[in-house]
């Protein structure tokens, strides 16, 4: 079995007596009643740090980059003290078969008891047609993913890639990039989506610490996102909302309105349709977020945000109706046709009517 904190302390020569004393001191330090000492002792005796396997598929690795930007808690503390990041090909020391062996070992020791963190997604198109677009140890990434997923306690889908498909799934999706929850034959582990391209660092670490602290999954919305961070739109808490309501908009880059921090709606801001915590938690330790730096939100935590027409258009594109249309262009086009038809019809009707009158006379 795995070593627990208690095992470690014992091995370092600490007696059971002083271990228990340590537990009651900890309880006191946390302001808990002495009864909690037993619970802490129990946890330390029986609970190793939860192993995390962080797999990488088709992606840009920005989610990992974002993760290490976390200020509270520091990425260092998450990795050293909270979880046991046993597999993450981006930072792990081992390579090749020594690396791959870890997945096997983890499943052996912690079957059903580790977290699978997925960054990126698999490309099923190539695999279905006999190719591979994401190869790990000579095999399709999907194989590694399925194997680990079937034994995981829970799956975290980091970022828009794992949650929705993201840029590689943008039309025409040449690799058949498929978000984690849509990969067939993945087992039954619950999936927590943490979308964003990338997600906010502190949101990522908060999701992990929530799970460790409360020993349960965060409560999720219908689409599998933690409600605590994804139940409101950027627009709902945007500090420029006053200008939106007032009807004060940036009309073009670097204009008077831009300098005064007017609303970016007319520049194509997707804040009104984007569920994310940017306008509340903000980025990089609460420093700023896209709108604060003058750029409209591009909706990076939303499903398929790449294919909704240009980023600088308020109205989305409707590709079904031709190359580049939006609702108004389609509507005005149709209304013009109908209006023309009506006019023509009215003219003919009038003509007929006068003819008929002539007939009757």
């Amino acid at each position: 079995m795995t070593e627990t904190f208690y095992d470690v302390m014992r091995r370092q020569g600490i007696t059971r007596r002083s271990f228990l004393k340590f537990c009651s001191l900890t309880a006191a330090a946390m302001g808990l009643s002495p009864a909690y000492a037993a619970k802490i002792a129990d946890a330390m005796e029986n609970k190793p740090r939860i192993p995390v396997l962080w797999l990488h598929g088709l992606e840009c690795t920005c989610c990992s980059e974002s993760f290490i930007r976390s200020a509270h808690p520091l990425a260092k503390d998450v990795i050293l003290s909270m979880i046991s990041l046993d597999y993450d090909d981006t930072i792990m020391a081992a390579a090749g078969h020594q690396a791959e062996a870890i997945i096997e070992e983890t499943i052996e020791k912690y079957d059903g008891n580790f977290i699978l963190a997925c960054e990126g997604n698999p490309g099923l198109e190539q695999e279905n047609t006999g190719g591979m677009s994401c190869i790990i140890a000579g095999k399709p990434y999907t194989e590694q993913l399925r194997y680990a997923a079937k034994h995981a306690k829970a799956i975290i889908s980091w970022g828009s890639c794992a949650s929705w498909g993201c840029v590689q799934a943008a039309s025409p999706n040449p690799t058949g990039a498929t978000p984690i929850h849509k990969v067939p034959d993945l087992g039954n582990a619950p999936i927590i989506k943490v979308p964003g391209c990338p997600p906010i660092a502190e949101v990522m670490t908060a999701v992990i610490t929530y799970m460790l602290t409360f020993e349960r999954l965060p409560s999720l919305d219908r689409q599998g996102r933690p409600k605590m961070f994804y139940s409101q739109r950027i627009h709902d808490k945007c500090y420029r909302r006053g200008h939106f309501d007032a009807g004060q908009f940036v009309e073009k880059w670097d204009d008077e309105g831009a300098r005064k921090g007017y609303c970016l709606y007319k520049m194509g801001c997707k804040g009104p349709t984007t569920y994310n915590a940017c306008s509340t938690i903000r980025w990089n330790g609460g420093l700023s977020f896209p709108i604060q730096a003058g750029h409209p939100c591009i909706g990076c935590s939303e499903d398929g945000f790449w294919d909704k027409g240009g980023f600088y258009n308020r109205l989305s594109g409707i590709n079904q109706f031709g190359v580049e249309e939006n609702a108004d262009k389609v509507g005005i086009g149709a209304a013009t046709v109908v209006g023309g038809a009506i006019a023509a019809h009215a003219a003919i009707s009038a003509l007929k009517r006068s003819q008929n009158k002539g007939d009757q006379a």
Binding site: D236, G242, G247, Q248, Y275, L315, I318, S349, R353
Partner: protein, 230 residues
Amino acid sequence: MSTKTKNEQSVYVYEVPIRLWHWINALAITVLAITGYLIGSPLSSLSGEAYEHFLMGYIRFAHFAAGYVFVIGFIGRIYWAFVGNSHAKQIFLPPIFSGKFWSEVWHEMKWYLFIAKEPKKYVGHNPMAIIFMHVMLVWGTFFMIFTGLALYGEGAGFDSWQYSWFSSWIIPLFGQSQDVHTFHHLGMWVILIFVMMHVYVAFREDIMSRQTLISTMISGWRTFKDNRKD
């Protein structure tokens, strides 16, 4: 009450609630379309401080207020379809399994294509109107109400009834919020196109058909211009 002269007979067709609904609805749609369009493409910016203005806020408020009038009116209209006279059901239940109905549709079509010389007489709506109203207006209204309330729920928040009854399933159904906006916006054009055709036809038929139309929607009485059968 009716004054039945030789070639002028009148029937009471549209009861008060129907007429009331019709005109309130027409007004609500007008407000919704204008404000809706301005939500999608706002007016030019106002200068000065934000607290001095609430233009976008008022436009949205008008949209939501008209939206609720539209919703409540429609609920009332559905209720009246149950309790009102037979004409009150027409736009909800086109008799699509009746051969006669379709042959009348065919006749109306010929009339509009200037093939038939004369339209038929109808006490209620003509069959083509029923089809159009059913598809574009009844379903269009359902669509606008559902998508509209789904959008409204987003602002009202996770705990609102609008969110749990509408947004929670409609947004995933469309994909994401922006798609709901797009289709709600497209829905506007469907309804506007209906209105264009409807108003044109109302005037045209008022002049060219064998019965009154516009005054009917005002007074409730349908007056026929001749007393030939059919």
